[in-house]
């Protein structure tokens, strides 16, 4: 792994999300004041349990939220323009051209009644103005470049004739067709076999090297994160709890939640021989209006009763704990030093 430290971020970020808020029609908040920055050619991983609002964030960033969900506040600055303020026509020009998406289950994301090439060609015809013939030729090239054998034949296939891995390659070809600057990949490998997962990730990495591409990788798989992402943002109950360079966060997490996630994912038994799990569920954490949202499940609080007052009293802010490294925990400094000592 080339150890390029996080690219200079704050100078000219590609995408800057500030205070993003998404709510259900009923008023229930799903994403609650999310801040996120993605630099140019940077891979940022957004991790969290299911229900933490990761996928909703992905859809919100390209303004594709279903009717039941509404973007109620915040700004999404992409190359200096606020996506939140864009008209539907401007959004249509942006989607697929500047920002592309990948989804969890590639096979259902393809129209079962349309051939592969018509769908891969859509960004080309829509944004590059290619005619049908030229688009088809380009589609074959694209399919070839994402490692699909016999691309000219596969271009005429239907989605049901493709394996999950093949379908995701097709989706990548379609996403890359118009040369976007940002790829939002929502759990692109979760539904795939482990061997195929690696291939797809390798392919994404290659695309990123080849083009001037930033990737927002949404996942719950921390092994992917450490192998792939420059920076990590840990999401919980609609908010970022910790954000920073991958290596530092994976080695010395400064938030008890990040810590627990990493420990769980390692599957290393605790001292008493049991596997660690985080007690309780995060699904109701959004209802917590006062104090830290992770407090009810926090292991640190159980061992450090002196934190009770602070953690239940008011919610910690997302504060810098290092260079480009932020954490939303009252005890972040202690945890960091603990990690240094270890």
């Amino acid at each position: 792994m080339n150890n390029q430290m996080a690219a200079p971020k704050d100078r000219d970020p590609l995408l800057e999300v500030r205070n993003l808020r998404v709510a259900l029609e009923s008023g229930k908040t799903v994403v609650d004041g999310l801040d996120l920055t993605i630099g140019r050619r940077e891979v940022v991983a957004l991790v969290g349990e299911s229900g933490s609002g990761k996928s909703v964030t992905a859809l919100a960033l390209s303004r594709l939220l279903p009717d039941a969900l509404q973007l109620v506040g915040g700004s999404i600055c992409f190359e200096g323009q606020d996506i939140v303020k864009k008209s539907e026509a401007e959004l249509n020009r942006m989607r697929g051209a500047d920002i592309s998406m990948l989804f969890q289950q590639p096979q259902v994301m393809l129209d079962p009644t349309a051939r592969v090439h018509t769908q891969v060609a859509e960004p080309l015809r829509q944004h590059r103005g290619l005619n049908r013939r030229a688009a088809f030729d380009r589609v074959v090239e694209l399919l070839h470049s994402v490692g699909i054998p016999a691309p000219a034949q596969r271009a005429r296939a239907f989605s049901y004739q493709l394996s999950g891995g093949m379908a995701q390659r097709v989706m990548i070809a379609a996403a890359m067709a118009a040369g976007p600057k940002l790829l939002i990949a929502d759990e692109p490998t979760t539904a795939l076999d482990v061997t195929v997962q690696t291939q797809i990730l390798r392919l994404l990495k290659a695309e990123r090297e080849r083009q001037d591409l930033s990737i927002l990788l949404i996942t719950h798989d921390l092994s992917i994160v450490s192998a792939f992402a420059d920076r990590v943002a840990v999401m919980y109950a609609g908010r970022i709890l910790e954000e920073g360079p991958t290596e530092q966060i994976m080695n010395r997490p400064t938030h008890p939640y990040t810590r627990a996630l990493i420990r769980c994912s390692l599957l290393v038994p605790e001292d008493d021989g049991r596997l660690l799990s985080i007690p309780g569920s995060g699904s109701n954490a959004l209802e917590i209006k006062c104090g830290c949202r992770f407090a009810p499940r926090c292991a640190l609080m159980q061992t450090h009763p002196e934190l009770h007052a602070a953690c239940h009293g008011h919610e910690p802010a997302l504060e810098a704990v290092g260079d480009g490294w932020k954490s939303r925990c009252h005890a972040a400094d202690n945890l960091q030093h603990e990690g240094d000592a270890a």
Binding site: E49, H220, S223, L261, S265, L267, I278, S281, G282
Partner: protein, 297 residues
């Protein structure tokens, strides 16, 4: 590697069971309530007809024929001077009975076939469902008319012929439910936990299947009412001197221009009876969808 640590606490089954019981009476959707009220009125009218009817429905009075509505005859009189209101009240018996029995038979036969197909699977399932698919386009009126032509018109022929094609929607639904119920997590969980099969069936399967089947039953009942009324209209149901909604419509035909009410009234009663069950079925369907959504979230 899955770090999904959230555990959805299962919705309390007790609540679901109670919901099914109360679903019939206290479904919150207004169409169900209005429909139930209308149906109750129609059924009460049919059951208590002999006591409610102000006149003898067969009593003719040729002097006062084709009368407009008046204080003594609220809906006027027909071409033989019989009281229309009394005939309407009594005239639902045949139609409602045949439709109701047909639906019950269809339900039993269809559910049986559907559940067997769903549980046995394989070739049995394949053949049963293909037969269902084919029968669904066969008009029930045609089968009924054919069998009436063969055996003559009576309760038995009508019920038999309407059941012959009427079981298919129930079979399809029951099969789908049987398949779904088989795959439900909590049922497998209950079986793994070693609960008795009958317990699983009574506690989980039946409560979860009653509501959709009831919804379909109501909708089918409405449909059968119209079919039976149609056969009566054609003179293939109740024979003339006896009052019947469909027959009254047919008998009113020659007086269409002079006394439109004679034709409008019996049609309206069939319409209201059919609408009542359609609304009930619709209300239950909505309720089911709503609770279904709650279960998922």
């Amino acid at each position: 590697m899955d770090i999904d640590m959230s555990h959805n606490t299962p919705t309390p089954q007790r609540r679901a069971r109670l919901a099914v019981i109360y679903g019939f009476v206290s479904s919150r959707h207004w169409t169900f309530k209005v429909g139930a009220l209308l149906l109750a009125a129609v059924l009460a009218m049919v059951f208590f007809a002999p006591w409610i009817a102000p006149y003898d429905p067969g009593a003719q009075n040729l002097i006062h024929r084709l009368q407009p509505p008046s204080a003594s005859h609220w809906l006027g009189t027909d071409h033989l001077g019989r009281d229309v209101l009394s005939r309407l009240i009594v005239g639902g018996q045949f139609t409602v009975t045949v439709a109701a029995i047909t639906v019950v038979f269809s339900l039993v036969v269809g559910t049986l076939i559907g559940v067997i197909a769903g549980r046995v699977g394989g070739l049995v399932d394949e053949v049963a469902m293909r037969v269902v698919d084919l029968l669904i386009s066969v008009p029930d009126v045609v089968v009924a008319i054919f069998l009436i032509g063969v055996f003559g018109s009576n309760y038995f022929t009508l019920i038999l012929s309407l059941t012959l094609v009427g079981w298919t929607p129930f079979a399809r639904l029951a099969r789908a439910l049987a398949k779904e119920v088989n795959s439900r997590e909590y049922i497998r969980a209950a079986e793994v936990l070693g609960m008795r099969r009958s317990f699983v069936i009574f506690r989980h399967i039946i409560p979860n299947t009653i509501r959709p089947i009831a919804a379909v039953s109501f909708l089918r009942f409405g449909h059968k009412l119209i079919t039976v009324g149609g056969l009566s209209y054609l003179g293939l149901g109740v024979q003339p001197p006896n009052p019947d909604w469909g027959l009254m419509l047919a008998e009113a035909q020659p007086y269409l221009e002079r006394v439109p009410l004679l034709m409008i009234a019996p049609g309206a009663v069939i319409f209201i009876a059919a609408l009542s069950v359609t609304w009930m079925g619709h209300g239950m369907e909505i309720e089911r969808r709503r609770t279904g959504k709650q279960d998922k979230s």
